[in-house]
Symmetry: C2
Subunit: 442 residues, 2 copies
């Protein structure tokens, strides 16, 4: 169903498929999309760029593994010439962006062809992907269920096989959770590694740009392009996980509600152990103090961003977004500053608790894709509130800023996807991707 | 009156003066101090450390140019074994600090001998140095006048010739302003270069640790020790200012109230020009928007720090400190976040306005040392409010985080000192010290 950057890139380089043919095919698929993943197509520029990339290949010029690869961009990230509407009627009359976000610009330099803008939860302020002026995004595995969010369209478009690569953003969940619910790979790099310039802010201090692909190899190729100043991409080494020290967080906070998620994660850990990783169960008591800070910080920063828009265009917001934004008007500077200070202190404590650990392996979410619009669900015999169940396991790594990736775990045929999350303590992006690859291969 | 690290260091290395003799002499002077610069002496440890440094020299072991040099530390910075009382009755029963602040530790490693803790404006929350549980610090040039603050004792002790080196902190003014008013050199390095760990916070995002010395050579020696990981100090090169591009900020914001300050600064700039620097007048319109952010940011962070202490020990604060702290209880998170965002934006704008400029040269303060307790003074035929007149010209570089040094300018015999400030735009610490040296030499 999905398609990999590896295969695509080989076909493009060999001439089996030209960038123009590929982009035409992608545009056809996106026009026929049934997941509501697409917000804006940039057909004219995409075809012109594809033609230019095709000509370059004809002259023997190859920009690297993303040469000619179509990419879709979450509609909260600026793409030159297209409006950034953030899934909201508030920005219905937004002017076309004057320039690309630097990550978009870097992908173009590396040969990728931007085809358009993708669905986002309104203003990226929610992990479900079903609150947007253009209606809910639909999970390719079951159209009655959510994609997860807020990078809803970015995950759905990869999962539906429309695109091999999309860009998203992740403030607490927003790349990894939709990747998990849709069964694709989502990488949130270390905080600050990818520029959030020309991204509509949700939380200046928690926002990350991230990438979504069909498989770990694809994410590794893209990371290599983005991380290397010379942009040549290059050979991906995945030397396995022998000797890597994996921590498995234990305690009530970290428990998934869905028994299938528990089982899939256990299976992934067992496979890592079999591949030579050292597994240690680890307690992180500071998590109970850390997690609530997320809401103080993100809500305060989101309110500061939206205050003027709320005054001017309150009626244009989705009701669910208003419900979350408005109660934050009275947060005091002290509450916010206390939270930022505690964040620094607790991140150091958690790093100490993770002494001797290279990476953490845990579920990406506590539940799998829930029905569109459902605020709570019954899972494993218990009532579970959807939003915290989606956010809880990913948000710690936005506060700490550590790199984290969600990779599909093994489930039975026909089951909804499960994401297994790898968060780097000492490992950087290439390290967590190596662990993810070992889970994917097994 | 003052003494230089250069002469002292030569005497200590040659055996002309032993560390023990030097430290005994310093302790004698500090016991007889009349500027109220001293809060706590650590005679026992200072003499033991001096003896150890003396023995090392006897064995031919020399730690570098600070070997055996006595240092005093502002009583807001932790020194192992001594309480950190921050000039306040609120912390009268503070336990001895368990460890040194890292800058203190680094100075000790480099051979310096900590002799005690020095006067600070209460909680470093003021630029005058006359608000403290132990009464006002007194300017060595005129005991009826303020030292400036908040590193009041650190400036007075160097100006009085008690010490060749002291440590202070600078959140908006607090190293440079007392240095200017007392006629010594004060260096505020780039934000983040010197650790503020184990410093009682005034504003986490504006606090800097800095150094005060009798002359620019001394500050350069200390900076070399602190900046070099191997701690060997080493030869100071001061190749002059030929070709250095100096910006002189113009416009009402930057004007000193005191005609002597105007004249002294003009003289310093003329001397730089004569020494080969290129002088350009420069407008920085963003300053009018930047400066007010300082108060929002610092007041919000100070209130967050003090909230619990205010609830527990309100009566122990000096009235002037309460007056400044308490109105900040109702600052909203939005006001604070807006200010931090504007700070980032305006810093970038000011850097752009300073295109083609290596450093700015301007007065350190708008007025010279004012009478103790005076809230306003008449200067140059105008009524001037003291606090803003002391803060205005230094605080911009706490917001931008750029390195800045205050060096005594040329005044007539018997006149109160004037500080000339050099702030690095492209120049780092060694660069601004080089410009300061050119002003000092001339």
């Amino acid at each position: 169903m999905t398609f990999s950057i590896r295969d695509l890139s080989l076909d493009l380089r060999s001439g089996e498929l030209s960038p123009t043919e590929h982009v035409r095919d992608v545009l056809d698929r996106l026009r026929g999309d049934t997941t509501n993943a697409v917000v804006t197509l940039d057909e004219e520029r995409a075809l012109a760029d594809a033609a230019a990339r095709t000509e370059e290949l004809g002259r023997g010029e190859w920009r690297g593994p993303l040469h000619g690869v179509a990419v879709g961009v979450k509609d909260i990230i600026d793409v030159e010439g297209l409006p950034t509407r953030c899934g909201s009627a508030v920005l219905a009359d937004a002017a076309p962006a004057e320039a690309d976000n630097p990550v978009v610009a870097r992908l173009r330099e590396a040969g990728a062809v931007v085809v358009g803008k993708l669905h986002t939860h309104e203003f990226a302020y929610g992990p479900t992907g079903d609150v947007s002026v253009s209606g809910p995004a639909r999970n390719p595995h079951d159209p009655t269920r959510i994609t997860g969010g807020s990078s809803s369209g970015s995950a759905a478009a990869v999962a539906a096989g429309h695109l091999a690569l999309t860009l998203g953003t992740d403030t607490g969940a927003s790349v990894r959770v939709p990747a998990a619910l849709c069964g694709v790979v989502g990488l949130k790099p270390t905080r600050g590694r990818l520029s959030t310039e020309r991204v509509f802010p949700l939380s200046d201090t928690c926002d990350h740009v991230g990438v979504l692909t069909a498989d770990v190899h694809g994410a590794s190729v893209v990371w290599d392009v983005l991380a290397r100043p010379d942009g040549t991409g290059g050979g991906i080494q995945q030397p396995g996980v022998s000797g890597v020290r994996i921590g498995v967080p234990t305690g009530p906070y970290w428990e998934a509600a869905d028994p299938v998620i528990v089982e899939t994660t256990r299976d992934a850990v067992a496979r890592l152990e079999k591949a030579g990783a050292q597994i240690t169960e680890i307690e992180i008591p500071a998590i109970d103090e850390l997690a609530p800070l997320y809401f103080t910080i993100v809500n305060a920063e989101a309110y500061a961003t939206h205050r003027d828009l709320l005054a001017a265009r309150r009626a244009d917001y989705q009701p669910a977004t208003l419900e979350r934004l408005e109660p934050n008007a009275n947060l005091t500077a002290t509450e916010y500053i206390d939270a930022q200070r505690a964040r620094v202190r607790l991140t150091a404590e958690i790093r100490t608790a993770c002494d001797g650990i290279d990476a953490l392996v845990l579920p990406t979410t506590r539940v799998r894709a829930t029905p569109i619009g459902a605020e709570s669900v019954e899972v494993g015999g218990r009532d579970v509130t959807v939003r915290p169940a989606l956010l809880a396991l990913t948000l710690p790594f936005n506060l700490t800023g550590w790199p984290a990736v969600s990779v599909p775990g093994r489930v039975d045929q026909g089951e909804l996807p499960v994401g297994v999350q790898i968060a780097g303590v000492r490992l950087e992006e290439r390290g967590v991707l190596r662990v993810a690859a070992a889970i994917e291969r097994s």
